[in-house]
Symmetry: C2
Subunit: 233 residues, 2 copies
DNA sequence: TCAAAAGTGTTTAGGATACACCCATGC
DNA sequence: GCATGGGTGTATCCTAAACACTTTTGA
C-alpha cells in the first residue's frame, strides 16, 4: 500500500524560547507517543490543503493562521511500520499562537507546545519526526540569514525589538541592539514603517516604532550575517 | 486514482550557456510534446530512487552521475489530466554530461539538451513543467549565493575559472576575475587546492591551479554576493 | 615575442563593529 | 528622579571594488 501524508513543524516563541507544536498519538502505530501533527491526504486535495486540514483537526489552529513552507519529502521505505508512506514536511513559524485543542474524534489524545530545549537529542518523537524536526529548524535558522522570513514569526505589526527577539531565540545568541536596528532598517524590501508606535503592551521604556513586512518572503540582497551581529559582551 | 511521481531538472553548461535536459513524450497525455524527464514511483522505492531510475531509463544517464536535490512537491489537483498525480521535483547541476539516449521501450521518443534561452516565457513544456523549471532555476541562482553548490556544476577537479563560469552562466552577468578569485580562495569550507595544475585542455595562457570541493554542499559563512562582484566594464 | 589566461598588489570607498550617548515612557 | 527599553552618533576596522600589474604557458 502506498499513501501520501503531510507532517507539520509549527514553531513559535513563548517566554523567550522556541517551541514546537506536538501531539500525543491516540492510535497505533506509536500510540501514546509524541509526534508532529499531520495526516493522510484525501482525494482531490493538494498536499498543502491536507496539511492545513490536519492542523485544524489535530490542534484546533484555524485555517490561514500560518503560512506553510515546504521543507522536503521523506520517503524511505522503512519510515512507517504500516508500509510505504511518503510524507511531505511543512514548516510554519508564527507568533502568539493559541493553546492547541484537538477536535473531537481526531486521532490524537493531546496537543501542546514543547520547548525545543526539552527535546535535546535522542529518540523523542514517533516515526522519523526527530529528523524532520531537525531539518526544519536548520532550514529556519539558515533562512533567517538570507531571507525576510523572520517577519513571519511576528504579528502583522511589530517592533524592531520583536524582530530581534526572533533572531536571538532561533539562533540562540544575543545580538547587538544598535547594529541590528540599523541593519534591518536599511535593508531594502524587508520592513516598512507604519508611522504608529506601540503605546500599550505592558512593556517598559520608550514606545517603539511599529513596522510591517515589506512583502512576501524574499531573498535579501544583503544577508543578516549571524557571525557579525553577535554582541560581544 | 492517486499516484506519486518524480520530475527532474538536470542543468548543465554547454558552450557557455545554461542547458536543461528535456524529453519528447512518446505516450499520452502530451504525446510529442516536450517535458522534463521523470515518472512514477514503484513499490518499495524511495522517491529519490525513482528519480534516478527514471533518469537512466529516459535519458541514459548512469546512476550516481549527478547529485539530486529536492526542489518541492507539486500537487495541484489539475496538474495532470490523468487525475491526482503528486510530483516531487529534483534539481541536479553537473558538468560535461553526455548526449542523452533514451532506453529502448521507454515512454519517451527523444531526449536532448535545450538552452534555457530557447525556452523564453510561454507554455513550452507539458504539465506544469514550465513552473517546475522556473522554480528550480530560481533555486539554483539563489543557492549559488549562499551555499557551495557551484562546485557541483564542476568536475571533481576544477579551476577557479571553471567555477567563475558557473556563476557567470547561471547568473547571466560577467564577474570581476580578480575579486572573484580572492573571494572564493579565502572562503572557508568552499574549495581546497590539490597542488596540481591543468596542463592540457587546449586552453591558452598560464595553466590554472586545480581545486576540489571542500566537502558536502554547505551554507557559506560569507555569501558570494551577486550584486557586488559584477564587473562594471 | 606575442597573445591569452592565471594570479597578485594596491588604492579607495563603504559598510560592519563596538561602543557611547540621547530620547521617551511608567513608576 | 530613575529604571527601562528605543533610537542615533561615531571612531575604528575590515572587506569589497576597481583596475594596474606580473606570471606562465602555447604558438
Amino acid at each position: 500500500m502506498s499513501a501520501f501524508a503531510a507532517d507539520l513543524v509549527i514553531l513559535t516563541i513563548r517566554k523567550g524560547e522556541l517551541h514546537v507544536l506536538l501531539v500525543v498519538r491516540g492510535i497505533e502505530p506509536f500510540q501514546n507517543e509524541r509526534a508532529l501533527p499531520g495526516g493522510f491526504r484525501r482525494q482531490g486535495e493538494s498536499i498543502e490543503d491536507a496539511a492545513i486540514r490536519e492542523l485544524g483537526e489535530e490542534t484546533g489552529m484555524p485555517d490561514g493562521l500560518v503560512a506553510l513552507e515546504q521543507v522536503g519529502v521523506y520517503s524511505a521505505s522503512d519510515r512507517d511500520p504500516r508500509g510505504s508512506v511518503v510524507s511531505c514536511a511543512f514548516l510554519a513559524i508564527a507568533p502568539n499562537l493559541p493553546i492547541p485543542v484537538p477536535a473531537q474524534g481526531s486521532d490524537v489524545k493531546d496537543a501542546g507546545w514543547v520547548p525545543l530545549s526539552k527535546l535535546g537529542g535522542g529518540e523523542a518523537l514517533a516515526f522519523d519526526h526527530d529528523r524532520i524536526l531537525r531539518d526544519s529548524v536548520d532550514q529556519a535558522r539558515d533562512k533567517l540569514q538570507y531571507t525576510t522570513i523572520a517577519t513571519a514569526f511576528c504579528d502583522e505589526e511589530f517592533t524592531i525589538g520583536d524582530l530581534r527577539e526572533v533572531y536571538e531565540v532561533v539562533w540562540g545568541v544575543p545580538l547587538d541592539r544598535a547594529n541590528f536596528h540599523r541593519k534591518v532598517r536599511n535593508a531594502t524590501e524587508f520592513i516598512v514603517p507604519t508611522g504608529r508606535t506601540r503605546s500599550s503592551g505592558g512593556a517598559l521604556g520608550r514606545p517603539a516604532e511599529l513596522y510591517r513586512a515589506a512583502g512576501k518572503v524574499s531573498v535579501l540582497a544583503s544577508p543578516i550575517l549571524r557571525g557579525s551581529l553577535v554582541a560581544r559582551r
